[in-house]
Symmetry: C2
Subunit: 130 residues, 2 copies
Amino acid sequence: MKNTKQKALIYNAVMQNRCHPTADYIYHLLKPENPGLSLATVYRNLNTFANEGRIIKIGMPNGSDRFDGTLRPHFHMVCEQCGEVLDIDLSQLDHLAEEVYTQSGFTVSSYNLVIYGTCQSCAEVKENNS
Amino acid sequence: MKNTKQKALIYNAVMQNRCHPTADYIYHLLKPENPGLSLATVYRNLNTFANEGRIIKIGMPNGSDRFDGTLRPHFHMVCEQCGEVLDIDLSQLDHLAEEVYTQSGFTVSSYNLVIYGTCQSCAEVKENNS
DNA sequence: TTAGATGCAAACCCTTTGCTTGATT
DNA sequence: AATCAAGCAAAGGGTTTGCATCTAA
């Protein structure tokens, strides 16, 4: 693998923007300072990093995939009001793979959990407006 | 809401095909006997049924959404070998909403869990071939 | 009769791909 | 110099939408 300027830019952007950016977000973030940059390059590199395990790809049903530089196991909550994506640790899922295998004989390789709802700050706003 | 022939056809197709069909699957299933049927109608009605709570929409990251006539809370496992989608009950997730709220103040309205791996029959095939 | 659903095609969004040009080793 | 990546534009898939037509109420 070659070390290109673009790879470094894109990787650093994921690491420094802990908002779970989409490919498009990163593209628009870097584009002004790097007018030559192409969206295809952003996608290609994000997928490469994810396959190498350097970042995590969060598959969002009905929406753009998001990327995450936090490698520790955790899950994601999407606020339906403000659209923000938040992290959460759920220890009750630590043994999901074992439970699934015991119960059904299915060997788990990975899983994707996305939680939808209302984040605390949006709930407070609603509270104050009612 | 009007009771059309198409609505009945599509709803019955979901209920009678417990393979977690996609919109396209249902379309191709019904099309031969109903040459006038349109894919847009299938999508529109499936989404309507899901919004009404008559069926469940399973958002599949990087793939077509699937629909499920089983309303009892349960989750889905996708076999990466044969592509089949299987049901599983996971009681450890019964109190996920409470745990999330306690831990983070996030109010859960719904969540989407998809488990990837190898189903029992595909694992047995691999075993026999090795 | 008329509100609402269908069919069709076009539009849409997100992502990937083919191919030429350009940069890294 | 050879190889691999980037840039561009086009294609791909899955889904939704605008609009005219049709149909259940």
